[in-house]
Symmetry: C2
Subunit: 408 residues, 2 copies
């Protein structure tokens, strides 16, 4: 199957009032820069990068520059050595000045890379999770770029990690019957009034979720504390509650407010400060233990993830395949996280469409713990095969590809 | 003086063969995304962001989105509280998703911010260095965004640092007579053959430079070692020689090659590995001491600089005002570097045009050591007021503004 042309789309979606709001991103749209790889068959590879609307056109333009190298390529041949292909695209000698490996050009790379994996899975007529499980450890590692990981995860170590988990896969394939557990992110968006949070919490529990998230980071910490107590009271002591500050606090604020929020026994505190601040997160993680720090949705690449892991500055790794360089870099970071004993609980800029595949592979193929995957329902109507959640569990996708197709 | 409209230009410059080449950026053009603030007077504020050609249009488009807030603003009123203005632009709630504070949108912010300072200086009819020296410590700090610096440099500490250096300014104003020392970056571009390096080294010394740089990072470390020995032999033991790997090495390679390169007694080794790798640089700095590590041209923002300084991962801070968020973030990072005892030796994506002003202020206003400033002559013909180097010294610019005007 040959890639014959590349089509790029800027798709933006209005959201109902308050939906998606957090302490930092107060008035979001959701949007995708979409890379479509047309082929000499009816099959099209679709890759997404997520934005909040503004500037999606910049990512689209960058997709055009990066994807040009893919025209004429045969998909099996392309993916057989994709790690090197990835590095060529990520390190294009002049374009990389605009990053490197971050910002607009790296978001664009995510879309391009994701389209390649989607096309690959579709060409083999299997869902992405199945494709990844079907690859040998060496074949999988061939799709990754492990450069700058030499001191923490060599190619041999990556292959060994995957090989080690081959014989025990059956112990973990139960997830293919139960589905992968979800958690509800949408009970407590920042701009929602208290009453709505209480209602949403009850609704989430009625729908089978026992894990959910509240947005914090208010100018008045009293608001955060009140709302956190409210959701704990409504959900009960058995529920798992995560708090998400979306980078709003500086370090002294984070230390002050996290101590107060400990009263509701949160499962984690997410993005307590600036996403680039490895040493700040390290200080917070040390100070708030045994409470845990989660971060990753704004960490652009594997090198910064490496630093976070080395510094023990994150207890949960929230890498997002539509923020880092797509499925390839997601898997690279998942391998390092596994090597270093940190669970991967992705952020889902893709609304879980691609990540429902990736967490299945992380669990079965790498032995990552089956924790839960963020669930955000607001773009359901726009996907051709929206993720199906039943009783709080993502149902295992069976359609070929990465579930990224959007309706026209 | 009111900003009446904003004009944006994409200016790219071809370079002679080999010029600008390094181990990573093998075939550069030099280019600027230019933000021009037109006013109700003949004066125009010009701000630059530097790229290697590819994708300059993306930066230009982002300038359009960011600068729209400036239309109609009066320059003195704008700059009186520019720190908050800066933060509003840097943290635009949806656009920041594309960063935050990195990549295309942050380069665009650099151009916008630099245009504001240029216009401010021109409106007061003084060169930028003079403008900065004329501000009171509080007025200067009002132009900075110190968020996420709370644990290392508060507003009061920043003002105190500037106040402390007020009474001793006269001890440092000698630089206004001598000029600011330069070093020659262009003797040893990566693609230059050995003979050319020898010739250039001799020429540099004839022109009064006793400090110069060689590009390293060859696939064959033997080439680096041979060329480093050659330049040391040509320049003599008294010369100051810097080696620049432009991110090419992974950590084990860096440790191996740096040890060999120590033989020529380099003044620093620059960008030995991936620019985001704080802990990697920390390991290198520890391993190669007493040799020094310089980095910064690809560090996008103050938070990552903070981490580098906290980790003692850089011995020289090479912040670049056309990479970070312009003059404002440059000064913020310079203040923190001063507070933490690390010299600032800027990278000059602007070819030294703006930085010749900034190092004068860093020295006289903050007490930073008068070391030397990178000199790159290749865009001289395109600037209206190109930096003047005499006997190896930047002559103090006297024309109002930041010396950023480009010929049409």
């Amino acid at each position: 199957m040959y890639i014959t042309s590349i089509e790029i789309r800027d798709q933006r979606f209005d959201l109902p009032d308050g939906v998606g709001s957090d302490a930092t991103h107060t008035t979001p749209k959701y949007a995708y820069a979409v890379c479509c790889l047309r082929t000499d068959s009816p099959v099209t590879g679709i890759g997404l990068a997520f934005t909040l609307g503004a500037g999606t056109d910049l990512v689209c333009k960058a997709i055009e520059y990066i994807s040009v190298a893919l025209k004429g390529r045969e998909i099996e041949e392309l993916m057989a050595d994709f790690g090197n292909e990835y590095r060529r695209m990520a390190d294009s000698p002049s374009l990389r000045w605009l990053g490197p490996h971050k910002g607009v050009i790296h978001l664009a790379l995510a879309a391009v890379v994701n389209a390649c994996y989607d096309l690959w899975a579709k060409s083999r007529q299997v869902p992405l999770w199945q494709l990844l499980l079907d690859l040998t450890p060496a074949q999988l590692v061939n799709t990754l770029d492990l450069s700058y990981f030499e001191e923490v995860l060599t190619r041999d170590q990556a292959i060994a990690l995957l090989e080690k988990h081959l014989p025990t896969r059956e112990e973990r394939t139960g997830v293919l019957s139960t589905g992968y557990k979800g958690y509800d992110t949408s009970v407590g968006w920042f701009n929602y009034p208290d009453e709505k949070i209480v209602l949403n919490t009850r609704k989430a529990m009625d729908n089978g979720f026992n894990a959910m998230k509240l947005k914090v980071g208010s100018d008045d910490p009293g608001r955060d504390i009140r709302r956190a107590a409210l959701i704990r009271q409504t959900a009960g002591d058995a529920a798992t509650i995560m708090l998400d500050a979306n980078q709003k606090w500086n370090l002294p604020q984070a230390l002050y407010v996290c101590e107060k929020l400990g009263d509701i026994n949160p499962f984690w505190i997410e993005e307590p400060t600036h996403p680039d601040d490895v040493i700040g997160h390290q200080a917070i993680a040390r100070a708030i233990a045994p409470f845990k720090v989660a971060t990753g949705e704004h960490i652009p690449n594997k090198v910064i993830f490496k630093n976070f892991l080395q510094a023990k500055a994150m207890d949960f790794c929230q890498v997002d395949a539509v923020r880092v360089g797509g499925v390839s870099e997601f898997l690279t970071i998942s391998l390092l996280s596994r090597q270093m004993g940190v669970p991967v609980v992705p952020h889902v800029g893709d609304m879980g469409q691609i990540h429902q595949h990736l967490v299945l592979f992380n669990h079965i193929g790498m032995g990552h713990e089956h924790l839960f995957l963020e669930h955000i329902p607001h773009l359901r109507p726009y996907f051709v095969h929206p993720a199906e959640i039943t009783g709080g569990y993502y149902q295992v996708p069976q359609v070929p590809g990465s579930s990224s197709d959007l309706k026209d």
